[in-house]
């Protein structure tokens, strides 16, 4: 956490393109942004972002109608290695249909707002990989991890030795959220947003998720 703060400060000072200062300024509102990337694989160093989707959450309302959704064409020449070598010139040549053209729009959409995600670290690392090359910074936004929120609601008071399942499926099923087609960044962002609004309210009300000892779930997925 501390290291992250130092890094943030460092990036803020070293930010080459001052037009991106807004990333370091207090967010314009109390919204948070749920976001998700689809990638060609799970290796941050080698794989690329294919789609990136984000949706704002205002209070208990998910602003799906004002979503951010972009497709980046995966291109063999645009592997991480290639980007390192060719940096911006390649992107300029390609006409910006690639991730470098997409990212500024994404940053303007997100601004300094907290990011909400499921195993957010991976998505943030993917974005950071390009962002470092593009602007010399990493995403400075506060991060809200829904699997952590879920863990607190469900396993926060669990006796040692309790089997813990933080899979996306388990959360969806426990919270009674509809399972949308996965591997679609927007659907994943939407489901993550629905998890967030539900878990946030449960936390505010001090409601816990029942641990199904006998594998019997409460009828609606909720219990005390």
């Amino acid at each position: 956490m501390f290291a992250r703060r130092i890094k943030r400060l460092f990036h803020q000072i070293s930010l080459g393109d001052q037009s991106y200062r807004f990333m370091f300024e207090p967010p314009p509102d109390d919204d948070v942004v749920a976001f998700d990337c689809e990638t060609t694989g799970l290796d941050v160093a080698k794989d690329d972002i294919v789609t990136i989707a984000a949706v704002k959450i205002r209070g208990a309302r998910i602003l799906a109608s004002e979503r951010f959704e972009a497709v980046a064409r995966p291109d063999a020449r645009m592997s991480a290695e290639a980007i390192k070598v060719h940096r911006l010139r390649e992107a300029d040549v390609e006409g910006g249909k690639l991730i470098f053209k997409v990212l500024p729009d994404f940053l303007h959409f997100v601004r300094g707002r907290p990011l909400v995600g499921y195993y957010l670290e991976f998505d943030v690392a993917m974005v950071d990989k390009y962002l470092l090359q593009l602007k010399g910074i990493e995403l400075p936004n506060p991060m809200i991890e829904v699997s952590q929120m879920y863990y607190e609601r469900k396993y926060g008071d669990a006796p040692p030795g309790t089997a813990i399942d933080l899979s996306f499926k388990a959360i969806v099923s426990d919270l009674g959220i509809p399972m949308l087609d996965q591997h679609d960044a927007f659907n994943d962002a939407m489901m993550t947003a629905m998890m967030y609004v539900t878990l946030k309210d449960m936390k505010e009300r001090g409601v816990r998720i029942a641990r199904a000892r006998d594998s019997v779930r409460a009828p609606h997925g909720f219990g005390a």
């Binding site: 959220i177 659907n187 939407m190 909720f222």
Partner: protein, 598 residues
């Protein structure tokens, strides 16, 4: 949620592909915590809500009128008229799509099919609130066609046939009207024409009929509405109209039958049953009995009176069937009984057959078996569905000698499983229909004698009243079932009353079968206070009436289920009061039979 919103869910399936894309793109998702008011009564809303997950209560004040679940949408009035009629409150953690009001209204304007869904929804709700019951019931009068009424057959005689021949023909076909063929023209002659010709004009009975027939026939097609017949009769001052199908005469509609349809004609049907000479005649009468229910209800005849009339007619029908089908030996040796709701005289809409036979002693097995089959088949043919539990004359278990019944009673009481309890309940409600009535009385006295002092048995028998919850909450609010927001009148109200009263009646050895009479006698014996007995009867009648109206409205589909949202607020108040009485009654039973020990 652009990709995931289910546009196959009505009414969104009426959107065109382009509209669906626009609609999906405009959706937000809202989260509502338990107890949160999503739309307040009287308030406008910026969105149409479509539930994704969770449950939303639609409330009229304290009253729960519907429970909305996934795919249900609300509230049309809040976006169209800017004022919701009811409030909508999240019952549990709820996620819902929010469709912007402006877009939804635009789609409603531009897509008539989509719009009509919502406007229909509004009008249906308004109608449910403001509906005049009278209007709802008279609806069928305006829609009934002449062909649906009882018609006398079109029977022809020749103009050269004699007056006597005509008179005998009328007698034979049980009709007052004949068609007369005179060369190319066709006329009508009535019983009154014959009488006048002979009595007033001194014509001989062997005179030809031709000169006294009338050739100015008023005819209507069988597809015309009934009210057209009424108008024609009034206009032409005729007491009958000829009915045609594709131009050919197919029958005669008499004013008495038309009036019977309008006012109910139980007497006429009773007469027809008594004069019937075949099961085919009885089938016609049976159909008319069923029609009576709607007619009588339209007249606002009280449900208990309807049940009495219908039961009486049904019993006449069965008695006449028994006389027609049973061989002489059987008629002298047997008692035909009806059981269950038919025995209590509380059946209106036909549910199923519950009948049996008590024999004085052994009878010829071949003729008995033939009768068993024919009787049950005849009733089925009349439109009484067979009993799923096979409580029918056809089943030897329910048509056997008195001594065998006595043996069954002993078994039912010694091994009181659920089935045995049901058998006792069914038989205790039995009423005699035809044959040797004393056989049933003897059987019942034996049954009562065997159980009336057995407190433990009676308690177990009464325990069935606990089988279903009465759908009323702690604050006397109606509780609709989770599924469709419907209330089950039978399980929640009618059954506990019938069975509770039956249990008390059995304990006190009453021979009455109807729930009403049993309540009255129990009050006389001091089991209930007079005012509670009155409340219980009224609640029972109200529940029966509500069920009947619901059955009439949807034919046999939903039966005893009623959706509170479709009731007016007055009806809901009455329903709540009725359930309150049922709740109190169950508490009385619980104490009386000490049901807590189970």
């Amino acid at each position: 949620m652009p990709n995931a919103f289910d546009v196959s869910n009505p009414p969104f399936d009426r959107l065109t592909a382009e509209e669906a894309v626009a609609f999906r793109a405009a959706l937000d998702v809202g989260y509502f915590k338990p107890g949160e008011t999503i739309v307040a009564a009287g308030a406008a809303a910026d969105s149409l809500f479509v539930v994704i997950k969770g449950a939303v209560e639609e409330r009229d004040g304290e009253e729960l009128v519907a429970l909305l679940g996934p795919n249900d949408s609300f509230d049309t009035r809040a976006i169209v008229e800017g004022a919701a009629a009811h409030s909508f409150i999240a019952r549990e953690e709820t996620l819902a799509y929010l469709a912007p009001k402006d877009l939804t209204l635009r789609l409603m304007r531009e897509n008539a099919r989509f719009g009509s869904f919502f406007y229909l929804d509004i009008s249906r709700k308004l109608e449910a609130v403001a509906r005049s019951q009278e209007e709802a019931r008279s609806g069928s009068l305006m829609r009934t066609r002449i062909g649906d009424l009882f018609l006398h057959p079109a029977v022809y005689i020749d103009a050269s046939d004699t007056i006597e021949f005509a008179g005998r023909k009328m007698q034979e076909i049980d009709s007052n009207t004949l068609f007369v063929r005179d060369g190319a023209r066709i006329g009508i002659v009535t019983g009154m024409n014959l009488s006048k010709a002979v009595v007033l004009n001194g014509m001989k009975i062997d005179a030809p009929i031709g000169p006294i027939a009338r050739y100015d026939i008023v005819a209507l097609d069988e597809d015309e509405f009934v009210f057209m017949a009424l108008i024609e009769m009034t206009k032409s001052n005729k007491r009958r109209v000829a009915v045609t199908r594709r131009g050919a005469y197919v029958g005669i509609l008499e004013d008495i039958d038309l009036l019977g349809f309008l006012a109910g004609n139980a007497q006429v049907i009773a007469g027809r049953i008594d004069r019937a000479t075949s099961t085919a005649d009885l089938r016609t009468a049976a159909r008319e009995i069923a029609d009576q229910i709607r007619v009588l209800r339209r007249q606002d005849v009280r449900v208990e009176v309807i049940a009495e009339i219908v039961s009486d007619l049904n019993r006449r029908l069965m008695a006449r069937t028994f006389q027609l089908l049973a061989p002489e030996s059987l008629r002298a040796q047997a008692c035909l009984i009806v059981m269950g709701s038919e025995g209590r005289g509380e059946q209106t809409m036909r549910t199923d057959q519950d009948n049996g036979l008590i024999l004085a002693g052994p009878v010829d097995p071949a003729s008995l078996n033939a009768f068993r089959r024919e009787f049950t088949a005849a009733l089925e043919d009349y439109g009484f569905p067979p009993c799923p539990g096979d409580v029918m004359v056809r089943n030897p278990f329910w048509s056997k000698p008195l001594a065998d019944y006595m043996e069954s009673f002993r078994r039912w009481i010694a091994l009181p499983d659920e089935n045995a309890h049901m058998n006792v309940a069914i038989f205790y409600d039995a009423a005699p229909v035809a044959g040797r009535v004393e056989l049933l009385h003897e059987a019942k006295r034996a049954l009562i004698g065997a159980v009336r002092d057995e407190r433990a048995y009676l308690a177990r028998f009464a325990h069935a009243v606990e089988a279903f919850e009465t759908p009323i909450g702690f604050f006397n609010n109606l509780i609709a079932s989770e599924g469709g927001g419907a209330l089950d009148l039978k399980k929640g109200g009618i059954f506990p009353i019938v069975h509770g009263v039956r249990s008390l009646a059995l304990e006190h050895g009453l021979l009455e079968t109807s729930t009403d009479e049993r309540i009255g006698r129990l009050a006389e014996k001091g089991v209930f206070r007079e005012d509670f007995a009155r409340d219980l009867k009224q609640s029972f009648h109200y529940l029966l009436a509500l069920r009947l109206d619901s059955q009439l409205e949807q034919e046999k589909d939903r039966g005893a289920l009623v959706k509170p949202a479709e009731l007016s607020s007055v009806e809901r108040d009455l329903l709540r009061d009725a359930f309150k009485v049922v709740k109190t009654f169950r508490e009385i039973l619980r104490r009386h039979f000490n049901l807590g020990m189970f």
